[in-house]
Amino acid sequence: MLSAQERAQVAQVWDLIAGHEAAFGAELLLRLFTVYPSTKTYFPHLGSCADKAQLLSHGRRMLEAVGVAVQHLDNLRAALRPLADLHAQVLRVDPSNFPLLIQCFQVVLASHLQDEFTVEMQAAWDKFLTGVAVVLTEKYR
């Protein structure tokens, strides 16, 4: 699915995120909830107004999962099987929400990394995250 060049771009993006999973993850969630308030319905445990610690904690977990995906570009299905099961059986996040998360991810990267986040990196990252979303939702039915 991803060409060799795209995999290199994905790895490049991850290098800029690694070590900052909590901060990026928290901002990702904050943007998601601010821009698309209906997404908060999937996070009732984060309260009606999630506090910083909760965002950092959950954000870090989500970004760490992204990191796992980056390390297993050759076999996303196997690497993400537990998460795919979780989304299919428990979370059941409507698939239409994944593009919203992806958009917010791009905005986080663009606003933080600015010129370091090239158009090629944006294209590869978008393709990669879309692939992850497909894997996470393909057991839904």
């Binding site: 917010c104 905005v107 158009v119």
Partner: protein
């Protein structure tokens, strides 16, 4: 009809005042064509679109991007009447250009990324929310006259 609060209008207008429409337009259209290559289907006569750098440097892409974003500027001036503002353009995109309205949503999202890229931390979640709202409004307005 979408309604913008005073705060949203202020955030949108103040940021827009600092946008270089020519540069941002070319950047947004270019990124659309790179990140979502199937959108190139509308631009067969634009010449070299064979690579990311070819697209981003293509003078027709830049010129058309500027045209598109200048038109988007009308949205910023008419947030209370997006449907009226874009009625004619909606008819054009349906009847003559045959553009799937999903492309307006894609371009709107790419434009938001370009603004985030340009403005960095100034592009707060609240500013992003306001801009996502206006690009969604424009996309809907452009789709409104489709039949």
């Amino acid at each position: 009809m979408v309604h913008f609060s005073a705060e949203e209008k202020a955030a949108i207008t103040s940021l827009w005042g600092k946008v270089n429409v020519e540069d941002a337009g070319g950047e947004a259209l270019g990124r659309l064509l790179v990140v979502y290559p199937w959108t190139q289907r509308f631009f067969d006569n634009f010449g070299n679109l064979s690579s990311a750098s070819a697209i981003m440097g293509n003078p027709k892409v830049k010129a058309h991007g500027k045209k598109v974003l200048t038109s988007f500027g009308d949205a910023v001036k008419n947030m209370d009447n997006l449907k009226g503002t874009f009625a004619k353009l909606s008819e054009l995109h349906c009847d003559k250009l045959h553009v799937d309205p999903e492309n307006f949503r894609l371009l709107g999202n790419v434009l938001v990324c370009v603004l985030a890229h340009h403005f960095g931390k100034e592009f707060t979640p609240q500013v992003q929310a306001a801009y996502q709202k206006v690009v969604a409004g424009v996309a809907n307005a452009l789709a409104h006259k489709y039949h």
